[in-house]
């Protein structure tokens, strides 16, 4: 019996040794602070799954400059306090080279100083402009700026001759930040906000507030800036009120589920979206096309769920880090300056052009105006 058992154990060990890849000379430790659970899991979930998939692919292809990538993924549950303590752990105990995340802007702002003090690169997957403006020398972010989305919307409004608008935002951090940007930028584009309302993320029906803004005869267009499902209720209620006003949504509408939830009411809604929503329609030879199609196919094949812009933020963060390590090696300061020197790097959100003063690296062209036609997102061709 014991001989048999020893044999089995021996065979298992032999198998395990044989299955282990060729011994890696060195490993590169990359941390990730993502909201895999909790209310922001719609961000952190796809981000974490994207990173796990990419690290596997990178290691299967021989790692980064021959070194194996070790991903230390920590779940912050969207909680800034947890992000701080897990961030400290990654820096002090695990001694990671760089960190991807966090998923939300609130968490990123909470740990910004920690990474400045520890001189370690942090590439955030959160959108708020304050993450990189004012500039922090070790902090970068991959999603497009809110102000870019606002400018794209206002430019389209000017083209359509819309000057007086109503703004509806949800009461999440995304909605509040959007409202500030819209109010700040509107005057520069000659647009007046004549009505502004905030709705609850858990609202069940918004026909009363729609009646209120519809009664304002000055309103020529509506911006509905939100990242929660209630944004679809606004769209429905506007059309149910028999109001054919042009509706503009934010990039937070860029999830086909929201268009599906609004059904035929979503037809003709105009919004700025990343190229990931229209990968198949991009012209051949567009620098993002092949990488977007590959990422979408890989992700959807593996996880059986629609690839989103959110997972793309993590994809871009790791891609940037990988390129910077290839250039600067495993020295933190060299990685940081390598990121600042990256030019024309295609990612899922756009083509990154970093500089010592621009830690986002994306311009207005990272957004394309899109619309909903027959229940699908398509590039907006103008009126």
């Amino acid at each position: 019996m014991s001989v048999l058992r020893a044999g089995i154990v021996g065979a298992a060990i032999a198998l395990w040794v044989a299955a282990a890849p060729a011994a890696w000379a060195e490993t590169i430790k990359i941390g990730a602070l993502l909201a895999v659970t909790g209310p922001s899991s719609f961000l952190g979930g796809p981000e974490a799954r994207t990173l796990e998939m990419m690290v596997e692919q990178i290691n299967a292809a021989g790692g980064i400059t021959g070194k194996k990538v070790e991903l230390l993924l920590r779940d912050t549950a969207g909680n800034p306090e947890k992000a701080i303590s897990l961030g400290k752990q990654l820096l002090e105990e695990d001694k990671v080279l760089a960190v991807v995340g966090p998923s939300s802007s609130g968490e990123t702002m909470a740990i910004k100083k920690l990474f400045e003090d520890n001189a370690t690169p942090l590439i955030s997957c959160a959108a708020a402009e304050v993450i990189v403006n004012p500039l922090a020398s070790w902090v970068f972010k991959t999603p497009q700026n809110d102000s870019s989305a606002a400018i794209k919307i206002f430019e389209e409004m000017k083209r359509q001759g819309i000057a007086r608008i109503a703004v509806l935002v949800d009461n999440s951090g995304f909605g509040k930040a959007g409202r500030e940007q819209l109010q700040k930028i509107a005057p520069e584009h000659g647009i007046t906000i004549v009505a502004a309302e905030v709705y609850d993320a858990k609202a069940t029906d918004l026909s009363a507030v729609v009646a209120k803004i519809k009664a304002n005869a000055e309103v020529q267009g509506v911006i509905n800036w939100s990242v929660v499902p209630a944004q679809s209720i606004v769209v429905k209620n506007i059309r149910q009120a028999g109001w054919q006003v042009p509706i503009f949504q934010s990039h937070g509408f860029g999830n086909i589920k929201y268009a599906e939830a609004a059904g035929v009411a979503a037809e003709g809604v105009i919004f700025p979206g990343g190229h990931i929503l229209m990968a198949a329609q991009l012209p051949d030879g567009h620098p993002q096309k092949s990488l977007l199609l590959k990422y979408i196919a890989d992700y959807e094949g593996r996880y059986k769920e629609t690839a989103s812009a959110f997972g793309g933020y993590a994809y871009d963060a790791l891609t940037i880090l990988r390129r910077a390590i290839e250039i600067g090696g495993t020295d933190k300061a060299k990685i940081r300056s390598a990121i600042e020197g990256l030019r024309d790097l295609p990612g899922t959100s756009g083509i990154f052009n970093f500089s010592p003063t621009d830690h986002n690296g994306l311009g207005l062209d990272a957004f394309a105006m899109m619309t909903v036609k027959d229940g699908k997102f398509v590039p907006y061709q103008g009126k």
Binding site: T204, S207, K212, Q240, A241, K257
Partner: protein, 296 residues
């Protein structure tokens, strides 16, 4: 305010009110039989919507809703038999705490089954932009469905509790459980029946409001809070009171938007509730004498 805008607010208020009422009625049935507030009522509403949406992939809408109601009724029965019935000393407070626990349990199971995305049933008539023009105002036909369901439910429940012996036996359980037992009423089965009935009513509510409000694993909680408010406002246990309370709250919420920003809508609603409870602690149609005989 133009008369047109006034009417449009009124219609919005009736929409809100009927959604709240249809949820509130479920609270009243269990309260009428057991004297407890069932805090998993919102989860019955959520289940009704979610199960109907899932079944609608395989069958016609009316059949999907009917099956969803039956399945949720079975869940209601299971909850009562697995948790409430097994309590050693079933005090009102303990039963209430059990229902809170059950609500968390159902929510988590729903999260695992359906994920965190929103879904909805299709509009029963027309689609997302269909409206009926009543004079100067626009109404979605789904709102009429909700109002209609609400009215039918209230009438049937009134008849059931007043005119059938089963209904009277259920009320007897709440009025005085010991006396009910002495009269030969099987009180345990009456409690089970009340859970089954309110689960069914909750599920039907969840299905008819789903096209308007959407369904999500955790949207029952928000609806239940509003429904609970309405049930208290109208007087706990009183279905007609729930209708009046629901319409009042809905109309107040809708008109509040015309004077204060939308963000303060809930604050206005709660202020009205507090004000009414100061003047009439047992709700608009509740009776102090009846309430004094209950533990809760």
């Amino acid at each position: 305010m133009t008369s047109e805008l006034f009417l449009q607010y009124l219609v919005a208020g009736i929409t809100y009110g009927s959604i709240y009422t249809v949820v509130a009625i479920g609270f009243n049935i269990i309260y009428n039989t057991t004297g407890i507030i069932n805090f998993s009522q919102g989860e019955f509403v959520m289940l009704g919507g979610m199960v109907a949406i899932t079944l609608h992939n395989f069958m016609a809408l009316p059949l999907a809703i009917l099956l969803a109601v039956l399945i949720t009724m079975a869940v209601g029965a299971a909850i009562e038999m697995l948790f409430i019935r097994r309590l050693r000393s079933p005090s009102v407070l303990r039963m209430i705490i059990v229902t809170i626990g059950v609500s968390i349990l159902i929510r988590e199971v729903a999260l695992h089954l359906w994920g965190s995305g929103v879904r909805s049933l299709p509009y029963f008539i027309g689609n997302e932009i269909t409206t009926i023009k009543l004079g100067p105002v626009f109404v979605s036909p789904q709102v009429l469905w909700v109002v209609g369901t609400c009215l039918v439910m209230v009438v049937l429940l009134l008849l059931f509790f007043q005119a059938t012996s089963l209904g009277r036996e259920m009320r007897a359980c709440a009025a005085n459980r010991v006396a009910a037992v002495l009269c030969g009423i099987e009180t345990r089965n009456m409690v089970t029946l009340s859970f089954v009935l309110s689960a069914g009513i909750g599920a039907l509510a969840g299905a008819v409001v789903s096209p308007i409000t959407y369904s999500q694993y955790d949207n029952g909680t928000g609806l239940a809070i509003k429904g609970f408010t309405v049930a208290i406002l109208g007087g706990l246990g009183n279905s007609l009171g729930a209708v009046a309370g629901g319409l009042l709250l809905g109309v107040v919420e809708a008109f509040s938007v015309s004077v204060v920003p939308l963000a303060f809508q809930d604050a206005v609603a709660i202020a009205v509730l507090l004000l009414i409870l100061f003047v009439r602690p047992h709700g608009l149609f509740g009776s102090g004498a009846t309430a004094a005989m209950k533990e809760f």
